[in-house]
Symmetry: C2
Subunit: 452 residues, 2 copies
Amino acid sequence: MTRTQATVDSVLTLLREEPQHEGQLEHLAREARELPVGELVYLVETRPATEAALLFRVLPKSIALTVFEALPAHHQAELISGLRTQQVADIIGDLDPDDRASLFDELPASVAERLMHGLDADERAMTTSVLGYPRDSIGRYMSPEVLSLRPEWTVAEALAHVRTHAAEPETIYLLPVIDATRSLEGVVGLRRLLLVDPEARVGDIAHEAVHALATDDREDAARRFFSAKLLAMPIVDAENRLVGILTVDDAVAIIEEENTEDSARTSGSEPLPRAYLSTSIFGIVRSRIVWLLVLAISAILTVQVLEIFEDRLDQVVVLALFIPLLTGTGGNTGNQAATTVTRALAVDEVRVRDLPRVVWRELRVGATLGLVLGVLGFVVASLVYGLSIGTVMGLTLMSICTMAAIVGGLMPLVAKRIGADPAVFSNPFISTFCDATGLIIYFSIATAVLGL
Amino acid sequence: MTRTQATVDSVLTLLREEPQHEGQLEHLAREARELPVGELVYLVETRPATEAALLFRVLPKSIALTVFEALPAHHQAELISGLRTQQVADIIGDLDPDDRASLFDELPASVAERLMHGLDADERAMTTSVLGYPRDSIGRYMSPEVLSLRPEWTVAEALAHVRTHAAEPETIYLLPVIDATRSLEGVVGLRRLLLVDPEARVGDIAHEAVHALATDDREDAARRFFSAKLLAMPIVDAENRLVGILTVDDAVAIIEEENTEDSARTSGSEPLPRAYLSTSIFGIVRSRIVWLLVLAISAILTVQVLEIFEDRLDQVVVLALFIPLLTGTGGNTGNQAATTVTRALAVDEVRVRDLPRVVWRELRVGATLGLVLGVLGFVVASLVYGLSIGTVMGLTLMSICTMAAIVGGLMPLVAKRIGADPAVFSNPFISTFCDATGLIIYFSIATAVLGL
């Protein structure tokens, strides 16, 4: 066991004893201070709320702030209710305005309002401006505190300005250039300012800014951020006036949240609002039950399909043996296609207009996969159950794979086209759809081949 | 149609005509220059190799480099074979050493060697140093060109040093502090240098560095990078000597690749080496066929389970009707649990040692889900097929959901424990496993309740 692991265990034991005396708390504080920030975040995220708050209270102020900033907003809001008023005020005051806005969003309105009153006028104004943008818009994630330059300044003047104001904004490494009406004219990197002639004009060395509208979708803006390999991105309003700046940490947080959401939805559940181990059992059930019910009810379709073919089943009961294998293979083939296309959509490698190309590709891929599995299925089933069952299996596998690959490739595009999340519409629905369609194909082929 | 979209269409038409004359190429070049970089990347990524190379050849040098840098290494390697020698030499010379190393890795050894000879001695040494680290280690992604400071320097001296050397390294915003033996002592942000007293010593204002070993796993290092909200991270060798620096764009690329890999594996396929639309049909088939075969062969288990119960099926053929619904529900419940735990493992919200907690949570979640579905299944099936079939359905749904949730939660942890990728071991295997186990549960309950 590493030293860190031993300290984690000791902190865990101390937390579970719910220490009250000064001495015990002292001991806990000493042990906690030994831990790297990553371990502290893990502990706060995965322990029940009371233990998390206890641990948090014994941390030194600066470490507490770092740990707090690393938590998702929903979790921050919960933690706050377990802390002393003074510690809350300290933390809220030190947060960046965009992080503060996300937190206020999760707090009950009355608590948010009380905390808002504790802020000074400037901080309050910035928090309010961020909260004014719609949920899921990039405006919610930007920092309204931006250090900007004027095009008519010399580089020397610009550098002096940066040095004077370097302490406040979230970043000073990318500097938007704005005119007298705050209209965005371009950007200059701090590195460029250090490299060029101090007498040059800022307007002459600025280059065009990759930027976003404050009302743009957060995922689109974050993806643009990363494809352009930025360190920061200016955010403007509808009149091209600079209203804030998006920094790397916020763009990363957005992408990670979107990835978690996609991965949950692909398997037919909603993303959890907080860490798995500290979500209540009821919270986890809630994230899964709706989809599970919808899918189970859709699966009644398969019962109805089988009812139609019940007399054939009664005649040749051996047909029932292959049902899970065939539906399973159809589901797997469909999910492979759906996952590939969903991910390609997310990273902008496929667009809705590529639909015909996707269908044509999946048709060929599905037919090839079906050919391989069909030949294999024909050989194995013929050897064990005779030539006619073998023929049914071979033809069915071939058809099901082709059908499933096309459906799997198509569904995410259709979802995107009608404005739904491609991830929601994909895997579990495809499985259910392919189950029902696959059974129809199976029994139609069986009826024809076996002459039922 | 937007103006950009119209230009994309016009470029597509021009590319398909495979222009040869100067005039046509001129026209293509003019149109291509109108497009934003993001659209150019999309075109190069999604068109066949010959068209991509043609488009690339008409781009101005600086834009060509930007587009080239945005492509994955595998795709870069392919593109290179279609370009003129001079353009290749220009691009290779301008790439960062870490990106160059990734590209060389994908090229045939003879081509890589020839290109390596075209580099000057410094660039060649840096590329070789990066190529010396194992695949998937963070050393492969770092930039060996680092601007570092010495602790005994004053801040004024440090700033002068930065200004003189600002042009070469990938970043100047985080500056590692090293002693005479290149041993890493700490880091200073450029912002801090601009803020403090110019007479202060660098050693006094430096703080402890969040760093990584060059041989560390790339995903672990990239996740540490983002939890610490860094702009850059020093990379050291086993003796704590500074060997490179990891920048944001590289950390983002690693996380995005890992996410694509996880999403592919979760659905039982291997990630594609390049963009979906430009991968060959054979390449897509190859990414799916192995898993599909493995899963189909595992699914033979379900045939064998059903054979055991064939006489019961023959007696009560109505039992066959519910097979796809029951196996489907089991698979869905298992996948929900597996996806949640796989993602929680990826973002370090769950660790292998949490196994007992995960099992206990999934037991309760699964039982609750099973209770809801079981009651519903009992009521519906009783109304349609009578009380005894209703009882079988209710009890089976309850048991299958509980079993599937536990298996789904357990599998990713077991995979991680034995050193496999949790994503590989999870969803498709869970479906197959739950199918077979679910059928045993189903027919055992049916045998008992119906007295078969």
